[in-house]
Amino acid sequence: MSIMQVIDLHQRHGSRETLKGVSFSLEQGEVFGIIGPTGSGKTTLLRLLDQIEVPSSGRVYFEGRDVTGSPRLRSELRRKVGMVLQKPVVFDASVYDNVAFPLRLRRYSRKVVHGKVDTMLNAVGLDGYQRRNARTLSGGETQKVALARALITNPQALLLDEPTANLDPVSLKTIEEFILRFSRENGTTIVIATHEMAQGQRLADRIGVIMEGQLVQIGKPSEIFYAPSDIRVARFVGVENILEGRVTSNREGLVHLDVHGRAVEAIANRHPGDELHLFIRPEDVVLSLSEASTSARNSFSGQIAGLAMSGPLARVHLDCGFPLVALITRQSAEDLGLQVGKQAHVSFKATAVHVIGQ
């Protein structure tokens, strides 16, 4: 069931158009990720979803009713939808008073407030912090207070703007787990805006990619990551191998492409002569020293042009008639004794190649 829909949202801030015709709908209970580079309009979109801002044009529907233009419905929406800002601010008051704030706005009795706040603080791991001034907390603790404050009213939807930016990995993990658990237990719809595509992949059931104010792709994480709809999305979600090619033949969905004079096979229904972009994720590229027998359709040999270590992984740049990046473990890179200038073989399956029209 759809809880919220936005139709053709536009937003202007001065002469800058921060959102250009965004439309999508949110399903009850899903975790929806909004990913995009910094400054692409994620924050504006969340603010419009929570009706803190009024769109310059377009409509926001909540529970089937158009709330834009109705102060009463807008405030009703804000009461049912929680939001945690990108840089959460806490009131200059105790942790207890901060978390109790939304309940007091709704005129709950002192006793009910007490019970709910204590339970919530316990759930986010801030038991014992009740009387601390919230302004004296660390970044992670502040984030937890803001989260607890937004969730204390058990909202139907929770909007999170970069909830884990500037957090250490341990706090990040705690908060991500808490959000997921809360959503499962209460059926809360979560919208999470993040510039970090891996977080979107970890948490979201569906992802919308926003680029320069436009929602360019929406789908399951696997679709976004393996079948980006254009070059900008591909680059953003970490597709490092973006090649250009021309279809030479098509046999029942298996196409042959000419890429810089080399033949590459891919699964697609395209006509000979079509100019295409090919996306190949670097982790889908298999690297070996000898031309091993493989079921992969595409097999090339080339020279190692560069080698970069990144944590437990190694990024290998090859020149095999066209540039190609392979991502392998650091261990295998050492086992293979890879060095710049050495020859190596690469292979990737036809299904690992995603093509779109140029």
Binding site: R47, D50, I52, S75, R78, R79, V81, G82, M83, L85, K87, P88, V89, F91, D92, A93, F101, P102, L105, R106, A146, R149, A150, T153, L159
Partner: protein, 229 residues
């Protein structure tokens, strides 16, 4: 110089002996100015909240006008209130002229611009995210304004104390609408002017010293509040 010295000696004498009339005048000063400060604060805090919260055409202009009235001469306010409250004026029927109530109204009007202006600037210096946060947590406009006021409470109390300082030290309004009636509307500042007129320079100086002592306490209060930040 001997006059100054005699004045100081007499001031100390009047203070330590708790001279009835002086205590009466000082206490009345304190009460009138406190009442006008409370009245002005009751107007300025909600109004300042509304002006700073909402965006509307002419907001900048309005704030400029308010700031211009920071330096309105006390006698102008006094004359205005006199004309309003005089029997021949529009509010003459209330019979307020030459009563402490009239002084309270006049002083409140006098300090309203400075208190309002400082309240607005105190509220504008609150993190804009506080506003968005309160709204996103389901606050109505009124609840959001109140939350912002609470965030700015220290700067606002400084504004209130400053308004009190201006009220207790002014003479124009109190003289024109209070009439300096002995035992009824005579306060420290009008008594100083009056005693000086009658040639009682020492007593005038003594009352001045008492006024300064009150001002000192007020200033200390302002500093304490502001140092907290």
């Amino acid at each position: 110089m001997t006059e100054l010295w005699d004045g100081l000696v007499q001031a100390l004498h009047l203070i330590v002996t708790f001279d009835d009339e002086v205590v009466d005048i000082a206490w009345r000063s304190l009460r009138v100015s406190a009442a006008s400060t409370v009245l002005a604060a009751l107007i300025c805090i909600p109004l300042g909240g509304l002006i700073s919260f909402r965006s509307f055409r002419g907001k900048r202009l309005l704030i400029n006008v308010i700031q211009t009235f920071y330096s309105v001469p006390t006698v102008c306010v006094g004359l205005f209130v006199f004309l309003m409250l005089s029997r021949a004026g529009p509010l003459g029927g209330l019979g307020l002229l030459f009563t402490p109530s009239a002084m309270v109204v006049g002083q409140a009007l006098l300090i309203t611009p400075i208190m309002l202006g400082l309240t607005i600037s105190a509220l504008s210096s609150v993190d804009k995210n506080i506003r968005d946060t309160t709204l996103s947590l389901g606050a109505s406009e009124r609840q959001a304004i109140w939350a912002i006021i609470k965030e700015a409470r220290f700067a606002i109390s400084a504004a209130i104390v400053l308004g009190f300082g201006r009220a207790i030290s002014e003479v124009g309004v109190a003289m024109m609408v209070g009439g300096n009636i002995r035992g009824f509307t005579q306060i420290l500042t009008t008594a100083i002017a009056d005693e000086a007129n009658q040639g009682n320079v020492e007593l005038a100086l003594a009352l001045g010293v008492i006024l300064l002592a009150i001002a000192l306490v007020v200033t200390l209060g302002v500093n304490l509040v502001q140092q907290r930040r």
